[in-house]
Amino acid sequence: MSTQIGSPALNIGIFALFVVVTLLIVYRVSKASNTASDYYAAGSSFTGPQNGIAISGDYLSAASFLGIAGAIAVNGYDGFLYSIGFLVAWLTALLLVAELLRNVGRFTMGDVLSFRMRQRPVRAAAAVSTLLVSFFYLLAQMAGAGGLISLLLGVKNTPGTPFDGQSLVIAVVGILMVIYVLYGGMRGTTWVQIIKAGLLVVGAAVMTVWVLGLYGFNLSGLLGSAVENTGKQLLDAGNQYGRTLTTKLDFLSLALALVLGTAGLPHILMRFYTVPTAKEARRSVQWAIWIIGIFYLFTLVIGYGAAALLPRGTLTSANVNDAAPLLAFQIGGTLLLGIIAAIAFATILAVVAGLTITAAASFAHDIYANVMKEGNPEPGMEVKVARRTALVVGAVAIIGGILANGQNIAFLVALAFAVAASANLPTLLYSLFWRRFNTTGALFSIYGGLAICILLIIFSPVVSGGPTSIFGEGVDFSFFPLQNPGLVSIPLSFLLGIVGTYIGSREPVNEVKFAEMEVRSMTGAGASAAVDH
């Protein structure tokens, strides 16, 4: 991790250029984002294709780009399975969630979950879940920034000293993200996502064509060379997950969390509110599916390319996230490395900005405006609270990122997906499709899903008892064998939603509200439309 390659000045220079350009754009488009609709949802003024690109920007995090390329380079076929789960998941969002959510809600996931329930408890629960998922996701991105920097800028992480060069970089990322979110609101953040998605896809495409060109566009030759160069059976299944029944179940658990988690990620759901109609939300997902799918095909080539072209032994499980930048340096030298490195930073920056505005919106809209002020905040106060929340989220992300630096990024992201799939998705689906679902059911599935997920993680080998555990091998209080809780927590959360609904069945079904929600979800009647400024 400590070896530094390329030219730090060039790396910083290209990244600084991205920051300057995006800040200028944020400044130009932001105008006065002082209404809630403008600040949270960019006045619902984006088109489907624009939002689809922005969704790709939000979704293709550092974990996707660096993590999947690295996983394929080190574990071959098993790494490829991540990208399939991440892509197929979008069908859940397209078919079951996107349009209905767009029609029913306005700014947050809580809008939909609380629509026909008792507002305050359900909004509070939705906000707790949103904040937790966003926090785990945010930590993963910030920790990723620290790891990347040691490779690119030669800034080492000195164990034992909490404030070193890497911490400084994490702080800079945090401050930039707060600036985007404070001044740009959703409109500015969306443009940052769009620019970043474009850069990321073009960068990955260049690397893909380059690598394939080195093999005369013979993919089979590239695959064979990857096996030969590493001496590992990278084309066979099971390198990472095939050893025991436990690891096989772990893989199943991860697959379930990935495929059901995406449609429950609050920062993804919130993006559907930036378009004016359900039809545009549908187009957004269609665009996102194509962009994300094509991007994952690129990472397949990049991952196997890193295995085929990097000198044997360069990649270990410790620097697995460096596969793509190292490959860029190997084939394109300092300049390509600088470009890919800057893109990776831009990726982290854009994703954390998207997470921050989601967390800020959820706190200000669900907790402040609807729980504390019971739906009647003083005019203008809600957006003020959202901006203050963004500041707090920024501070928490910087401190958390510094503390989490060196932690396993993939674990943190998988945790976010597991919580989203357990707490959010069942509750969303039940409230959209099940007439009898009620407040007690919603609270059971949200809080139950959260609690089960977090408890299972705490008592899993991720936290204690294994060689890669947070507490190391010496401390062992793990009794749950799987790294990812999804296999248990997702079915249990669906079950808890049913149990809670029967326990609370003395609460009569609000037929009027249910009719409004159902008709509105499918027709868009009464839904908020685009606001022109």
Binding site: T35, I84, L91, T523, G524, A525
Partner: protein
């Protein structure tokens, strides 16, 4: 932008005339739209989730199948099935968008107008 912008999602329209939504909800046109829509999305969801699960279980427990090389190349059956997951995802997305544009949008729009006239 008015002050109603800060009101909680969706309660404003309802308080005035709650029956407009219920009336449409009970109409045969809406029942038909809901049946066609849900029939499609639930079927497709079952198809893609089932096919994904088959793929994951094969990759997990049937290494003999997924590790098989195709022809004289380095492509494996697993890799091919994985790429077919991409193809099926693109295809299902395209089919759904076409289906919704053609069979759902006009009816939904008509029902929307009917609700909003009666609000």
């Amino acid at each position: 932008m008015s002050a109603t912008d800060d009101s909680p999602g969706g309660s404003s329209a309802l308080d005035a005339t709650p029956s407009a939504y219920q009336e449409v909800q009970r109409s045969p046109e809406f029942v038909s739209l809901r049946r066609r829509w849900r029939g499609f999305i639930f079927t497709m969801s079952a198809v893609f989730l089932g096919w994904f699960l088959v793929y994951v279980l094969l990759s997990d427990f049937a290494h003999g199948v997924v590790d098989t090389r195709i022809g004289g190349t380095n492509f494996t059956v697993g890799l091919l099935l994985g790429l077919l997951q991409f193809v099926s995802t693109f295809t299902i997305a395209t089919i759904y968008v076409r289906f919704a544009n053609k069979n759902l949008d006009d009816d939904a729009e008509a029902l929307k107008r009917r609700v909003e006239e009666n609000l």
